[in-house]
Amino acid sequence: MPYYSRLDPAEGTALDASDFTVELDRHRRYLLRVAQLQLRDAAAAEDVVQETLVAALSAREGFTGRSSVKTWLTGILKHKIVDAIRQKQRQPVVAASFDEETDLDDFDPLFKDNGAWQAPPADWGDPENALSRQEFMSVMEMCLERLPPNTARVFVMREVLELETEEICKELTITANNLWVILYRARMSLRECLERNWFSDPARA
């Protein structure tokens, strides 16, 4: 039973509220995955998702239906995650591993000395083929989970939660240059992972 079913829906809107609760609960797993990817801490992820759902439930009049419920919830989750990061900022571990993951380019195994591709990207065929498949989305999620922790965190902040780069730099206290290196690494790794685990199968391309 979802934790918020204890809450009494407002009088007269009982049906709406319970429909809304069911609708919110449908997105719980998605929110948890995003939070887990970002925070890398199951308990903290659980906390921000609970806070997100509680906030959503109490603000349901604020939901205008202009965006999908999922997009709306993602917007609330974004703020809850930023709050959680601010609270965690004391942990020195984060800064140390950021240095490792932004360690610059001296050796980049993807390219030859002259800067040409070691192994040029394969032809991925018609993008719609992949995008319309649920399996492809699962592979992408697996690839995201395989990224180094801080790389995944930054990528999720930028691409899933759509935070501005300035905001990410501020919250994580990293430079713009560090951020670009991390995002570059994230995209290169994701690309490789997708190519290896999806597009190299001739039946799919």
């Binding site: 999908s68 999922k70 997009t71 993602t74 980049d108 993807l110 390219f111 002259n114 800067g115 040409a116 591709w117 040029p120 990207p121 394969a122 032809d123 991925w124 993008p127 992949a130 995008l131 492809f136 989305m137 992408m140 999620e141 930028r158 691409e159 899933v160 780069t165 951020l179 670009w180 995002l183 570059y184 995209r187 290169m188 994701l190 690309r191 997708l194």
Partner: protein
């Protein structure tokens, strides 16, 4: 000027510029260098389309 314009960037540099272009507006010179490189390079043109596909995939993940 002409010399700098015709000086091609490497694939490694082109992929960096393509990634940065997702996050901020490139300088005029960077855009020209990148365009010239993409005209001549099949591999990086593919890479560019793959970036677009990944962006689209993430946005479907979200909505």
């Amino acid at each position: 000027m002409l010399h700098r314009l015709t000086h091609m960037v490497s694939c490694k540099e082109a992929t960096r510029l393509l990634s940065q272009a997702e996050d901020h507006r490139l300088s005029h010179m960077e855009r020209i260098k990148l365009r010239l490189h993409l005209l001549a390079c099949v591999a990086c043109s593919r890479f560019s389309r793959q970036l677009a596909l990944m962006r689209e995939a993430v946005s479907r993940f979200r909505t």
